[in-house]
């Protein structure tokens, strides 16, 4: 088990470094160089200025040297310096993170119970119309652009009915982010639950005299939970894209706005740092699920040992 965890940990580090390598390759090895990208094609006439900036950011050093520096930096936890502000990227991210974590946390605390409830009810009910309705709900929610949903909520509950502030409040942004997230949770879980409900062991449980609710909760859900959890990494992906648009719609500062401004100002080191940080978060989550999986499933326990 220890060896299994250690091996997975090494793999996770390799994935994060590979993500860094990928952005490094895109930013540095492509014909355009970061300074030109940042300044935009129309402002790069003045070669002397370009050269000066290159020197300032240390971009005149050989590619291999810069790459090695970057990798060593990441292993030390140093993500470089922003082009725009000249500040440490790691510190900038750390500063913006808490507000986004609050948003994502609030959204997930709505989305996960809601998603569970939808999937559980759909799997458990005998009413066919209710099951169909609940099963169609996630697909409907996931067809709605998140930013538009935020605007509609603003329109209805800030301007129409003055219940929530258009700026500064947490409720509307959290609800906006929670809708696609809960749809995602419900969809993944319901798909797994439906598959598990067809398994003969559920019938065995019912033959023993278990109620439908018990068959779903104690048997099917237990088997569906872990495979569904392996999709958690995708949920983080959702939260990243969701936070970018939600923070823009509700004018909240946070990681999403930071990403948006890094792209708008072409602050490549900042964007690179954000990519590495997000990948690390996703990979860490995947790792946790992978390590937890054998704890729940005895069949995997033997294989991991």
């Amino acid at each position: 088990m220890v060896r299994f965890v250690a091996r997975r940990l090494l793999q996770a580090v390799a994935v994060v470094l590979a993500a860094y390598t990928l952005t490094f390759a895109v930013f540095s090895v492509l014909p355009a160089d970061p300074v030109r990208i940042m300044m935009g094609p129309e402002n790069t006439r003045d070669e002397a200025q370009v050269a000066a900036l290159r020197a300032e950011y240390g971009l005149d050093r050989p590619v291999a040297e810069r790459y090695a520096d970057g990798v060593l930096g990441i292993l030390r936890g140093d993500l470089g310096t922003s082009f725009q502000t000249g500040r440490d990227v790691g510190a900038t991210i750390a500063e913006a993170a808490p507000r986004t974590f609050a948003l994502a946390g609030a959204a997930l605390s709505l989305a996960i119970p809601a998603g569970f409830l939808i999937a559980w009810t759909a799997a458990h009910t005998r009413r066919l119309w209710l099951r169909r309705l609940l099963a169609a709900l996630p697909g409907l929610s996931l067809s709605v652009p998140t930013f538009w949903l935020g605007l509609m909520l603003l329109q209805a509950f800030s301007f129409g009915l003055p219940w929530f502030p258009a700026r500064g409040g947490l409720v509307l942004p959290a609800v906006t982010l929670a809708v696609p997230s809960s749809a995602f949770v419900a969809q993944v879980l319901l798909e797994r639950l439906t598959a598990e409900m067809r398994q003969p062991y559920v019938e065995t449980a019912r033959a023993k005299g278990a109620s439908r609710a018990r068959a779903v909760t104690a048997h099917a859900l237990r088997n569906a939970a872990m495979p569904a959890l392996t999709m958690a990494a995708l949920l983080v992906g959702w939260l990243v894209s969701g936070s970018v648009v939600v923070e823009t719609v509700f004018a909240r500062n946070g990681l999403g706005r930071l990403i948006e401004s890094a792209v708008a100002t072409r602050d490549l080191p900042l964007l690179q740092g954000l990519v590495v940080a997000a990948t690390a978060a996703v990979t860490l989550l995947t790792l946790t699920v992978d390590v937890a999986h054998p704890l729940v499933d005895p069949r995997l326990r033997e294989r991991a040992a």
Binding site: F147, L154, T283
Partner: protein, 268 residues
Amino acid sequence: MRFARRLGVLPSALVLLAAAVAALAPGLFSTADPVRGDLGERLLPPGAGHLFGTDELGRDLFSRVVHGSAASLQAAAIAVGIAVLTGAMIGLVAGTAGGRLDGLIMRGVEVLLAVPSFLLVLVVVAVLGPGTREVAVGVGVSAAAVFARVMRAEVVRVRGSAYVEAAAVSGTGRAATLLTHVLPNASGPLAALATLELGNAVLTVASLGFLGFGALPPAPEWGSLISAGRPYLASAWWLTTVPGLVIVAVVLAVNHLGHVLRTRSERR
């Protein structure tokens, strides 16, 4: 259930057809100028003269939505095209080669999948700059990894099937088996995935348009139309509401068709 599904296919197909016609020949739907407006007709609500109302410059919103479908749908279609072609190629190579090359390719795909895809799109957009084509490339590149993984899984599944074994015993060569058994059987799930991805791509393209990284003004695009309506959220609801509803309708239609395709390919 099956009947209900089939019932939904026709409206979905009609919505898609309408959107496609709007993208290819917007003049068929609307003769109003999408770019130049009549300042005397500013911010009119939806009504007989202007189906979707007018914006702050007196431009007809219906016409802008119709003309915007070209940018939105083209970007989404190009993105899916890029994703399918590169992804399927990578997956096919990995699935047929097997062994070390397969391992190496799939490691790379795993890395791409570990980066949140929206970030990947933004990285590409940051390098290439804003614009419809740039957005399409970004969305396409970020979705390719999923196609690679599905294609590889399909190739491995079909290659391990009893009918490919039978083909081997019959003396059918590797290349012929690949062309006649593996590719056709792998393409069903891939087509379903491509359709579902088209819905995703429409949403992502709209998000990028909303953030200001999409089509350059004054050309209309669905996401940027919604963004342009933001200042009038309290006074002119239709500027944000109506284009959003159009996006929802198109994405719902695409996703519905994708699910039908997926169910069909799974039933085989």
